[in-house]
C-alpha cells in the first residue's frame, strides 16, 4: 500500500480548529459548573471564565466566518447524499473488516458526507442555539430595556442553553473518537496539526 499526502487544512483553519476546540472544552467545563453539576473553580470564577471564553469564541468566529466566505471554504459544508450510504456501511461494517475508506479527501472536498452533515448540524443548530441563548443569558440585565422580558424567562433560556451544551458534549465525544478512523488511527489528527493528510 502506498501512502500519499495531500494538503487539506490551511494554517488559519488549523488555528481556528484548535483554539475553538480548547475554548469549547473549557466552556463545557466551566459551563457545567455554573449549571451546578460540580464545583471546580467556584461559581463566581466559573461565570467569569465562561464569559471571557465566550467573548474570545465570538471573536474567533468573526474571523472564521470572514475566512470561510472570502476563501469560499463554506462550500465544504454543503450537504450531499453522494456516498452517504457507503459511509454508513463503512462505519458499521467495513471498518471492522479492513475495507478501504469509501471517501478520499481532496483539497476541494475535505470532509466526507457524514462529516459534512455533522459539522453543518454543529454550525447551524448547536452553535446558534448556544450563541443565542448564551447571549440572552449574558445580557439578562438588559432584557427590560430590550423589551424581551415579557416573553423570555431565564429558566427557559437556561434550559435551551444547557440542552445545547449536552449536544455539544455529545458531538465532542463522537468527534474525538472518529478522528481515529482515518488511514491510520492518528492520520486525521496529524492532518489537523500539520495540514497534511495521509491517504491511501
Amino acid at each position: 500500500m502506498t501512502t500519499n499526502k495531500i494538503y487539506v487544512f490551511k494554517r488559519f483553519e488549523r488555528f481556528w480548529h484548535w483554539s475553538q476546540a480548547m475554548l469549547i472544552i473549557f466552556m463545557l467545563v466551566t459551563g457545567f459548573e455554573v449549571h451546578g453539576s460540580y464545583s471546580l473553580f467556584g461559581f463566581g470564577k466559573a461565570v467569569d471564565l465562561h464569559t471571557i471564553s465566550a467573548w474570545m469564541l465570538i471573536g474567533l468566529w468573526v474571523f472564521a466566518i470572514f475566512w470561510h466566505f472570502t476563501t469560499g471554504e463554506w462550500k465544504q459544508y454543503i450537504p450531499t447524499t453522494e456516498k452517504i450510504v457507503a459511509m454508513v456501511r463503512f462505519y458499521s461494517v467495513g471498518i471492522f473488516k479492513g475495507a478501504p475508506h469509501p471517501f478520499r479527501p481532496t483539497t476541494l472536498k475535505k470532509h466526507n458526507p457524514l462529516q459534512r452533515l455533522a459539522y453543518l448540524g454543529v454550525l447551524l443548530l448547536i452553535g446558534p442555539l448556544l450563541w443565542l441563548t448564551g447571549w440572552f443569558y449574558l445580557f439578562y440585565g438588559d432584557w427590560q430595556a430590550w423589551g424581551v422580558d415579557s416573553f423570555l424567562s431565564l429558566e427557559w433560556v437556561a434550559f435551551f442553553h444547557t440542552a445545547g451544551a449536552f449536544m455539544m458534549l455529545t458531538f465532542l465525544i463522537a468527534h474525538v473518537y472518529l478522528t481515529t478512523t482515518g488511514h491510520t488511527p492518528t492520520s486525521h489528527i496529524k492532518a489537523m496539526l500539520t495540514g497534511w493528510e495521509e491517504v491511501d
Binding site: 467556584g42 463566581g44 471492522f96 439578562y140 431565564l154 434550559f159 440542552a163 449536552f166 465525544i173 481515529t180
Partner: protein, 547 residues
Amino acid sequence: MLSVKKVSLSALASCAMLTVMSAFATPAQSDTASAATPQTVADTRQKSASTADHSKFKELDKQFRTGPEVTEACLICHTEAARQVQHTKHWTWESVDPKTGQKRGKKNIINNYCTSPVSNEKDCMACHAGYGWKDSSFDFTIEKNVDCLVCHDTTATYRKLPGDAGHPVYERREFPPKSGKFVDPADLKRIAQSIGKPSRSNCGSCHFFGAGANGAKHGDMDSSLQHPNKYLDVHMDEKGLNFACTTCHATSSHEVSGSRYNMAPATKGPAHIRGNPDSSPAACQSCHGDKPHPQHMSKLNQHTAKIACQTCHIPEYARNDIGTELSWDWSKATVMDEDGKPFVRKDSAGRRAFDSKKGAWVWDSYVIPEYRWLNGVSTYKVIGDKIDPGKTVQINEVGGSPDDPDSRIWPTKVHRGKQPYDTVNNTLTVQHTGGEDDTALWHNYDWQKAIRAGMKAANLPYSGKYDFVSTELTWPITHMVAPKEDALSCTQCHSKNGRLKDIQGVYMPSRDGNRLLDMAGWALALLTLIGVLIHGGIRILTSKKAG
C-alpha cells in the same frame, strides 16, 4: 461587653463621652473625636459648624426644674420645632400606611416583644420623645411636652427611667430598685446649654435597647454601634467614615427619613443629590445608585433588579457578642422557683434567658437572616384584630412577590414567640405589665388580673379565658453593613443548599435546573461514550484477528 443589667434606658449613661463628638465630627475631623474628654467636648464644639453657642443664650442661663421648662425655653427661638415634632412618629407613635390606610405604629400594633404600651405608658414612655404620656388622656397638642433633650443632649447625662412617663430623673433615686445603684438628677441647665445634633448615642438610647435589653429587638442595632469598627459597620466605622445615624436618615423639619413602616425597597436610578424630595435618603441607592458595582463586576449590577443590597452586604446580623433575641415565650412568665419565689436566669453569654416577670428568651449572635420577597408594605396585627389560634400568628405580614417589579429579596430577622390571647374572642390580649399596682403582672404575677386591666385600658372585650399562641414577627435587616470583603460570595446562594434555597420565583444558575433535561443530557453523552468505546473495542479486536 455590656451587661444585660443595663436595661433599656441605661444607654446614655453607658456610652462614653466621646460619642458626643459624633454629632459634630465630620469624617475629616474624626481624629479629634477619638481622643475625647470633657475638655475636648468644648474644644470640638468651638470648631463645630454650628453658628450658635447655646451656652451664651440668656434664655438657657437659668435653673430648670423640669423637662417642659427647658422645652419652653427652646421654643422661644425655635418657634416651629415642637409643632414639627408633633407631626412625627417619634411623638405620635402612630403611622398610617399610605397604600392600605392601616393605622400602625407602637400605639396601635401588638409587637412580639413587650406586646403593647397600652396600660403600661408610665414605663414605655421613657422612650417617648415627650413628657407625661401616662395614660390615654395624654394631650398630644401641648408643645412644652415635646422632649427636645433626649435627641439633642450631648453630655450623655440625660436619662429617662421607666415609671416616669417620659420625664427625666429629677430626684436622686435607686435604679434598678434594690440594686444599690443610684441615678443622679439631670443637670438640665448644663444639658440645655450643650445641645447639638443627634449622635449615634442619642438615637441609640432608645433604638439600641428596645424590648428592654441591649440588642434584643432589632438584631442590626445595639450599643456596639456607639463605637463601631469597620468590620461591624463600614459606614459608621469610628476610625473611617464615622457616619451618624442621621447621615443616612437625613432629616427635614424633624421628620426622620427611612422607616420600616414606609420602606423604599426598590429604589431605582443613579445616586441622587441630598434633599431631592422624591428620593429616599436612607436607601443605599440614594448614595450608591442602583448599579453600584464597577464595570468589570457588571454581573452583580444585574442582581439589583431582584436582590436588595442588604442581602449580600449584611451577611449576618447581630455581628457581635451582644447578640439579639430570637424568641420570647410569654407563657413561661409567672413560673416561680422551688420556693415559690420569682427568679431570673442568664444564658452562657450573660444575656437574659428567663425572668418570672417576663418569660423565657432565646438569644444568638452572628445570625444568618431568613430571606423574603419584600415590597415594603407590611400588614401589622393591630390591637383587637382577630387571629386564628390554630396557626402561628403573623404579627406582621411582609408583602412582596417575585412578579412584582418593586419587590426585592431581603434579609429579615424573624422573631418567634408565644403570647396570651383571648380564647373566646380570638384576639391577642393587651396586658398590664409594668407598675407597682395590684394588677401589674410584674408586681403581682397574676395573668388574669393583668389581662383584665390591659383589655380595659385598650377598650377591648375580654372573655376571662386566655391561653398562649405561637407568634412570628418579620423585620427587614438593614444596618450593620459589612465591608465588601465580607459580603456574601456567589456560591453562598448559587448552590443547591444555599442561603436562598427557599426563595421561589427566580431562576438561579447552580441552584436550579431541569432534572429531566439533566438526566437525558448525561444519558445521551454517556451512551455516546459507551457506543464509541464498543466500536473502538471491536475495531481493535478485528484488526488483531486480521493482523
